[in-house]
Symmetry: C2
Subunit: 399 residues, 2 copies
């Protein structure tokens, strides 16, 4: 049976409805169907779907375009469905991370037919699992024009605070070498695990940088996240590998972060195994400044996002981005997850005020020529491609 979403429900009730459609990563189909079905009748939106990722855009020709993005998947259910209201709290898997944010997106998409900025609403799949399955990453690689915009808001749980940009993350293996020998004659060899104490000494002596980037104070970190060594119970080991994780502020890119790690561990071979650039908060952009002034009024100043989030995907596309959502981040992925329902309405109200903010718009053509059927994967949907030229495709859509 098809699931219907009533976007006239208030944010808390809509969150409960979304939570009650389980959507563990990889199983977002029914929820994606419901979202697509709810948005497609809305004449002010162009809707496109790629897999279980839905993009809905206003096409008002506004001089600015902003993006509100949220993932629709959750971590595995932990006996915490269906949702359960208890006073001002709504409990259940995904209430904070991040179906309350998705509810706000849907409410705004439905009830703001003429925002002062064009808006792209992105509802994407598989954020909670390996990056290669992430719907936002797929869009950014295959149809970056769908993500075109001047500023993005990722509606991950941030306890209603604005968290700017994100730090990057790098993992590297630092290897201490030795020489094998029988442990009964260990002086014939050199113990690589014993040698690794020098690596640990570097980690313990490390003092984190706390740079200010675009007005926000970041806080770096360097940690061993794994250590392994050993050949057999009677063998002096010839190798000990320490995996370190460097969280770096967005004033460095991945290459610079790798240089930092190589320099700290200059005495040992260093192999970078993965790196993800961070994202600058970009709060100097007019859309961002307006966001902070409007949305952030009374919330306290924006703070730096220390963890890595999908805002970095926008940053890679040249779009400054912030994290802002009604969920409570410390409850994410816990069985006792809940959201404070007043925060949902508050978040919606703040975003609505920002998106409705009066500006001097440039004139935009609105004739019948603007609505035409697309081709490719979105043919037949109400999708119309962005008219800006892109390097990846002509007028078609999709990968």
């Amino acid at each position: 049976m098809d699931l219907d979403l009533d976007l006239d429900l208030d944010g808390a009730a809509l969150t409960a409805r979304l939570v009650d459609v389980p959507s563990v990563s990889g199983e977002e189909g029914p929820l994606a169907d419901a979202i697509e079905r709810a948005l497609q009748p809305l004449a002010h939106l162009s809707v496109c779907r790629d897999g279980d990722t839905i993009v809905a855009r206003t096409e008002l020709g506004r001089p600015e375009r902003v993006i509100l993005a949220g993932h629709i998947d959750t971590v595995p259910v932990a006996g915490n469905l269906p949702s359960r209201a208890d006073g001002a709290r709504l409990y259940g898997c995904g209430t904070s991370d991040m179906k309350s944010g998705v509810a706000v997106q849907l409410r705004l998409a439905a009830h703001l037919p003429a925002p002062s900025r064009d808006v792209t609403y992105v509802f994407y799949e598989c954020e909670e699992v390996a990056a290669e399955r992430n719907g936002l990453l797929r869009l950014s690689r295959n149809t970056p024009e769908l993500l075109a915009g001047d500023f993005a808001v990722l509606m991950e749980p941030s306890a209603g605070r604005i968290e700017g940009g994100c730090q990057g993350t790098l993992r590297a293996e630092v290897t201490a070498a030795g020489q094998r020998a029988h442990t009964a004659r260990s002086w014939m060899g050199r113990n690589a695990i014993h040698e690794a104490d020098g690596i640990l000494a570097v980690l313990r002596a490390y003092t984190p940088r706390e740079p200010e980037v675009d007005g926000l104070r970041y806080h770096e970190g360097l940690n061993a996240v794994a250590i392994r060594g050993g050949v057999a119970g009677n063998v002096v080991p010839d190798e000990c590998v320490v995996t370190v994780n460097y969280r770096f502020a967005p004033d460095l890119d991945g290459q610079q972060a790798a240089d930092v790690v190589r320099s700290l561990f200059a005495a040992w071979p260093v192999t970078v195994i993965d790196v993800a650039d961070g994202a600058r908060p970009g709060l100097g952009h007019p859309a961002a400044a307006a966001f902070v002034a409007t949305v952030g009024a009374g919330l306290g100043p924006p703070r730096a996002k220390l963890g890595w989030t999908d805002v970095a995907r926008f940053s890679a596309l040249g779009i400054p981005a912030v994290n802002y959502g009604p969920g409570l981040p410390e409850l994410a992925h816990t069985a006792g997850e809940y959201v404070e329902t007043p925060a949902i309405a508050d978040c919606e109200a703040r975003l609505r005020a920002w998106l409705a903010l009066s500006r001097r718009f440039s004139a935009v053509p609105t004739g019948p020529g603007r609505r035409r059927a697309g081709s490719g994967p979105c043919a037949g949907s109400r999708w119309r491609p962005d008219t800006r030229p892109t390097p990846r495709r002509g007028g078609g859509t999709g990968p």
Copy 2:
């Protein structure tokens, strides 16, 4: 087809014959059959078999009984069969470890019908694999009377040198604890891998004891043989476990060795995961002294065995023991394994001289009553049980 062993072959030729019967641990059956068949016709021996372990004993009523023991299994063949002679070297799997020693045992068993000391020849299975499969361990537990004696020689490769006793070995896990946190906010936690640097510092500062035990100088060792820690690539780990291996001289028992380790690592939880007592060389016993004087003439003084060997099983039975064999220990378990064939004849000659050494014997009854059929697993074999009372069984044999 039954394999026949001609015990009139010289030691080198017999070694080649033994090597050419593959006997990787667990597959000793054909070789054990051949050994049993070769020894059973010899009227001066009582032969018993348990699994693929063969025990052959003279029953001359001598006031001393000595044991010559060797394992008949090998590590997996590494393309190094059949054996190949090249000048004074015989190449092949098991040439050094330790079918050359087994050849010496068999030659002595066949050609010394009236040694001056009663001799127990033990040919046992599964030395190269997990202890619970070890044939000597099984005998020591189930029929220790089969291993009764005053002194034992384990014919493991020792390059023709006498190596006394063996060091014990203990493995323990030393655990550094921490507190989990996201690595983006690592100051919320405590990194257990970083904490483990204190454990490594103890290992690096360790100064080995080199005690003299029964006239031999041992050399202890304390090494990390494994290290593990890590929860996920973005988590400050809450546990890091260092597995240490303490090789301790035989003036300590396993309990004392554990006390040493617990004392060194008093700042951390220590879990002993396995411990095997060493063995004192016992060179003060008359049989041992005679062994050193005769067998060791011109070889240089006996030296301490630093690795753990099955001499410890004899020690556990109260029997002093040494390691002495013609193989080259550094070639054991290598594809290029060989034995110097002159060492085989030399070893045999030295042991023959020792076993033939004139002593003043006590009178021993030799009447027909000494030969009687046993019962239990060895019934029908030429086994006769030791007449000394034992705590484990009456007159029967076997487990």
